[in-house]
Amino acid sequence: MNNIKNLRFFLSACLLAMAVLFSGVAQAHEEEKKPYVPRKVDIYEGFPDWYKGVFADNVGLKEGSGLFKDHYKPPFMHMYMYPGRHYEPPTRFDHSIFIEKERRDLCIRCHETINTGAIEDWKTSAHYNPRKTPIIARKTKIIEDSIGKEISVVDCFDCHVDTEKKQIRLPTAGDCSECHARQVTEFASEKNHGRPNHIQTLESNVLVPWYQESYRRGLMAGNAGCDMCHGATDKCDPCHTRHSFSAAEARRPQACMSCHMGPDHPDAESYSESKHGIIYELEEEHYNFDKPLAHVMVGEEYRTPTCQFCHMYQGGGTFTHNFVSKGIWRMGTVPPSNIEYESSLKDYPYGIKIIPPKIDIYSDENLDKRDKWIEMCSNCHSPRFAAGWLTQMDDYMFQANKLTDQAQKVIDDLIADDMLYPSPAERDIYPGGDWLADVLPAELLGEGVWNAFKSTGGKIPVIGPILGVYAMFYQGDGNPTHIETSYAKMWFWYKLQGYKGYAHVQQDIMWWWGQSPMLQELGNVQSEARSMRRAAAIEKVLAEIGKPVSHYTSKSTASAEELDYEENR
């Protein structure tokens, strides 16, 4: 018996020893640290190859972006607005010695007296103190586990040094994704829903020929108003501002407001003056912005929703950095397929592939989105109330599109009767009209539109959604005319203002910034058309009695080549 006992003891001792040894080996194996290799999310993944070549590949300020890149030179500030494509490292002072010797400490020593604000900002950030609060500490832990690297501080070097090229970089969303992969992946997924989205803001800024036309006419500096918002493509700091990069800050509605405002999309105005926004303003200090949205106690920590709470909601209690996944009417510019049109809108999008087709508001996908909205609204409202409101908003949009159709018909008829004055043949070209057909192939522009551009050099009338919006961005000689501008305002400003008033439940904006001015512009269009027809009739009579009216002709009749625009560089 004793022997057996001894043997047993011996065996278990052996096993224990082996286990200890083995675990030691395993541990030693684990401790053998792999070198940290940053992995980045490619926000352009899934786009066709040509897309990267003209939007993602860094060219500094040497050339522009997009398919029309050769028709403008980016102004200096583009390097800060579109860092991925246009950033150029500093040239006045060679920073490579600090990079080579990895002297992280010296960045602060020099810059704290130059950019004091930026440095102090960073010192308040989770980057400076990754365990600043329990929530931030937990998030840091998750990041540490995912990248396999301990984080004590995220300093200037981590974000601003391109370790491969050994030069200073301006961080892009891709760079942020080295640690924040989940957020950047979510953000990049916006592109799967079509425009408008944040990822394609650069594209929608420069893939419109009036952008290049303003370069040709020496008006480029004015485009900063476009550039500043359309630079959300590969940057995180439009919402998480430099250098505190606070999630809590980005959860506040104000984070959206510097871009989401104004006559084309008065989101800030309509939200702020709605009951939602006013209650937020009154009780701001009771809102808990430190908490991730998914953990917010509705009612207790948010008495009313914020932009983020509604627009980042993905259904089922989840929130991501995709703001557009529930968008049905999107910006409100694309005509719905659910109504009948009298005007040329029935042919929209005229075979053009670069603009979105009509929206079926009741498609399965859109009905699904509607359910998510109702689910969201039902946090506080009855589902019947929520569904009713959305239905009434759709009705407004259908009506508004019918009014748009009515106005477009008036101008269609003017053009058909050759009574638009000055006529397309007598006036300046459509922006970029002389080269558009050379850059965009017939497959993209559609056979008919391509031929029209090619044969007239751009002297064609373009009205209505979406390309007729050029009337808000360009003024050539006699182009657009008053009637076209009125029409553009009607559908691009007032229709959309009414829509935002509805969507954000701000009654005054809905009516006085929306439907009322829309009706007024329709009146202007009709009245202007009558004047043109009347003038044409009078001219016809005068010509018949041998007194033809001599029209003022200016350079408008000259071709684009003869115009000899002053090159602004």
């Binding site: 002072f93 010695i97 010296l106 020593r109 020099c110 810059h111 130059i114």
Partner: protein, 275 residues
């Protein structure tokens, strides 16, 4: 553009053409003696350096310093407009951080020290990132920017009196002196740099400057050790209204002032508002 070292050599060679061999020898002997003399004095007037050596220093200077201090050393480098405090203009030969008597040019060791440790509260970083040789090679370049170096010699470092240990007593004495010597007029009653005269202070370049805020703990321009601060009281800061108290106050009193102004920073830190 010429630099002083080179100009001198050119004029010498012209001289040689004019004179006969005898005068040539006399001059040669004279020059050699001067050189030897200055070498013996170690800190002598502008030491002649070879063109190659000078160029080596100038290259380092141009690469790392000129962007702020200017290629001509006038403080108007490309980035100067963005900086405050402004980069030093070397053309007046005025240097704040020294170990020798007020008004003197700095010693070589002073220059090397400041370059290596930088100046807190400014964009002058510690350039210990450069090799010591590189730093040394720049000294003739710095000196070439101002004529002062041709006419004057840096004085020897001052003698540093034995430090009196900090105590309630010495701090109290320092406070007394702070009031008596009217330090508060610029630096403020509580050392915040907000005294009545602080609002229109300017340096010799007529650039507005601020009286130091002693509560900023470790940001003393010339270093935050007791020894550093003692030197500021004893050498003054050339080009600024900050005088030297070497002749007015005893060693012990100057140490007392050091302890007092340091105590101002500690008070601040005690309130947990430090970094």
């Amino acid at each position: 553009m010429g630099y002083t070292g080179r100009k001198k050599e050119v004029s010498k060679s012209i001289n040689l053409c004019w004179r006969n061999i005898l005068s040539g020898i006399i001059i040669a002997v004279f020059v050699t003696t001067t050189c030897l003399g200055s070498m013996v004095m170690a800190e002598g007037k502008l030491k002649p350096v070879s063109e190659a050596e000078f160029k080596k220093g100038k290259d380092v200077y141009d690469k790392y310093c000129a962007v702020c201090h200017g290629e001509e050393g006038d403080g108007y480098g490309e980035l100067a407009h963005a900086l405050y405090p402004k980069p030093r203009d070397f053309t007046k030969g005025q240097y704040k951080i020294r170990t020798n008597a007020t008004g003197s040019l700095p010693t070589d060791a002073d220059l090397i020290h400041v370059i290596s440790v930088g100046i807190h509260g400014t964009s002058m970083i510690p350039w210990d990132i450069l090799e010591l040789d590189q730093i040394k090679s720049m000294l003739p370049v710095l000196k070439s920017f101002s004529e002062a170096w041709q006419y004057r010699e840096p004085e020897s470092p001052i003698a540093i009196g034995r430090e009196v240990p900090s105590s309630q007593q010495s701090i109290a004495r320092g406070k007394e002196l702070y009031e008596q010597k009217e330090c508060w007029k610029c630096h403020g009653e509580n050392g915040h740099g907000d005294g009545p005269s602080s609002y229109d202070l300017a340096d010799e370049w007529e650039i507005p400057i601020q009286a130091y805020d002693f509560t900023r703990a470790s940001k003393f321009k010339g270093g935050a050790t007791n020894h550093d601060i003692y030197l500021r009281f004893s050498t003054g800061m050339n080009g600024t209204p900050m005088p030297s108290f070497a002749n007015e106050l005893s060693d012990e009193d100057r140490w007392s002032l050091v302890h007092f102004v340091k105590s101002l920073a500690e008070q601040k830190e005690g309130h947990g508002h430090g970094e």
